[in-house]
Amino acid sequence: MALLEVSNLDVRFALRQGEVKALRDVSFTLDRGERLGIVGESGAGKSVAAFTILNLIAKPGYIADGSIRFDGRELTTMKPRQLQQIRGNKISMIFQDPMMTLNPVLTIGEQMIECLKAHRRIRSRDAREIALNKLRQVYIPSPERRLDQYPHELSGGMRQRIIIAIALLLDPDVIVADEPTTALDVTIQAEIMELLLELCEKHNVALILITHDLGVVSQVTQRTLVMYAGRVIEQGPTREIINDAQHPYTQGLINALPQMATPGQRLNQIPGSMPSLANTPPGCAFHPRCSFSDDANGERRRDCREVIPTFVRSGNCDVACHMVRELVESRPSESDASDDNSHKHREAL
């Protein structure tokens, strides 16, 4: 049985202008020790998905439908008391901005010890010992001193290390990392990602990595989920998605990587921008931007405009696209991406 099973999740925000559907029919599973990447543009619903896993959607948002099962227990209907025992304890989270995530008026030690004491009956001295130990695991120099320092006395990279230490404090089963490196500079980014990967492997912690950096996803995760306008549009093994993307949107994302551009030419991009979640286009939400969905007369295909695509199996991936379905159904045994192209992907990443 999978450790975390999310099925048919619908999350809505009841705003004054009307209901915004932030997540629609999102399903995925996560096994113990598995690393899953969730990618997509800003506003695709990645962070909402992360918060929903912990059932922490703030009002006016709410879970309209679907289920989240963690270790066999349903989180959507769980009482707040029990949820609090899972949050931080079994599932912990790493946020984007290490400057903001630590409470500015409490020392590092106070925050770590408090977290331990909230979940375990433990003496302060023992809690301090555990905190020190975790700080050592994330390679923080002179950890004893750090415990008595305030967040503003530390650098960004150091703070993100501390946040990772806090996330690991109670030996969780799952860590949800919401863009853990976006606020850091490039050299530190690599260090932090490496550290996170190392610790997850060492402690057999499952990781959900939310990012828009496909390079990071390809290095760290085993499976990838691509989201667009609140829906999952493609999911499968990371290697296949990176090398052999099926959905036109995923292909567009990969082509938009600077490494994929021909030197001396403009970078590739997907025309247009993601629709607002308040009024997503009917049919496939991506069809207005899709460069493949024209039919022989140069018009948008009707099914793309009107019918919401369902998942179709292609290779080991699930893809929600009418054209892929047609391709798969017409040539069921053959993978359609050209070899030449997939080599290019591999080199780039």
């Binding site: 918060f51 912990l54 922490l56 009002k59 949820l83 609090q84 025992q85 899972i86 949050r87 931080g88 304890n89 912990s92 989270m93 946020f95 984007q96 901005d97 903001m100 995530t101 630590l102 409470n103 500015p104 008026v105 409490l106 030690g109 106070e110 408090e114 977290c115 909230a118 979940h119 003496r123 302060s124 001295r125 301090r128 008595d148 946040i163 806090i166």
Partner: protein, 315 residues
Amino acid sequence: MTTASTSSKAPSRLARFRSSYLLYSFKRDWIAQVCFAVFVALVLAAILAPWLSPMNPYDLAQIRILDSELPPFWIDGSDPQYLLGTDAQGRDLLSTILYGARVSLIIGFGAVILQALLGVTFGLLAGYLGGRVDAFLMRMADIQLSFSTLMVAIIVGAVIKASFGGAIYSEYAVFILVLIIGLAEWPQYARTVRASVLAERSKEYVDAARVMGFRAKRIMFRHILPNTLSPIFVISTVQIANAIISEAALSFLGLGMPETQPSLGSLIKSGFDYLQSGSWWITLIPGGVLVVLVLVINLLGDWLRDVMNPRLYKG
């Protein structure tokens, strides 16, 4: 926190204070230093009144009516026994001022503590929980603010006097005044705290605390409250000054402290009738002390606001 971990941290706290911006700015601001010195001197004098003052103005046996309305020492006809002269009952003015300042400060601090307890709790709840709780508490605050302190005092005072009699009222006048001023002014705190909580609540460390599985109460009081302390400190100074003035105003109108336990306000009032007859000191000296006390607190508050609001950093 156990005592062990706090005591091991104690020296570093002191070191932190020594190198803090608060101390740095204090050392460079002579107005703040003077105000602080005057304030501390007044508070100490008030606390030590029973030992400092030449006589006990509450003790009727020590009062000689023959010595009434003696002028302060620099005017002819004064008695060296009474440095600042005496009032109409023959009480030593210096003693009554020391005792009076004591009563005024107790009421000022007491009322502000009550205001802060109510206001901070309601402000936190309103800001953090939002929705109906917020609407209810803030409308309560609006209603409360629409009554002036004086009106509340008159009504509450009249009700208590009518139901328990004047003797009981005089006996518990300090508590009643603390209650009245505390209840009348809590919305100031509630509004300030609520505004800061709204700003803090959207910060990621609050999300992080929720993700760690902390309860709402813990998040409110341990995580958000310490982050809203600067505005609370600043408004506290203003509120203490306001409470002292409110008390003085109430006492001046005869709604506050009885003359047997004079505060600065009731001293001013008791001398007011003699202002025309030449005994100006009975009113003006306590008045001067009141003005200095309030001014000093307000100036300290101004300084504190400048220090604690990083947007106002100069240079």
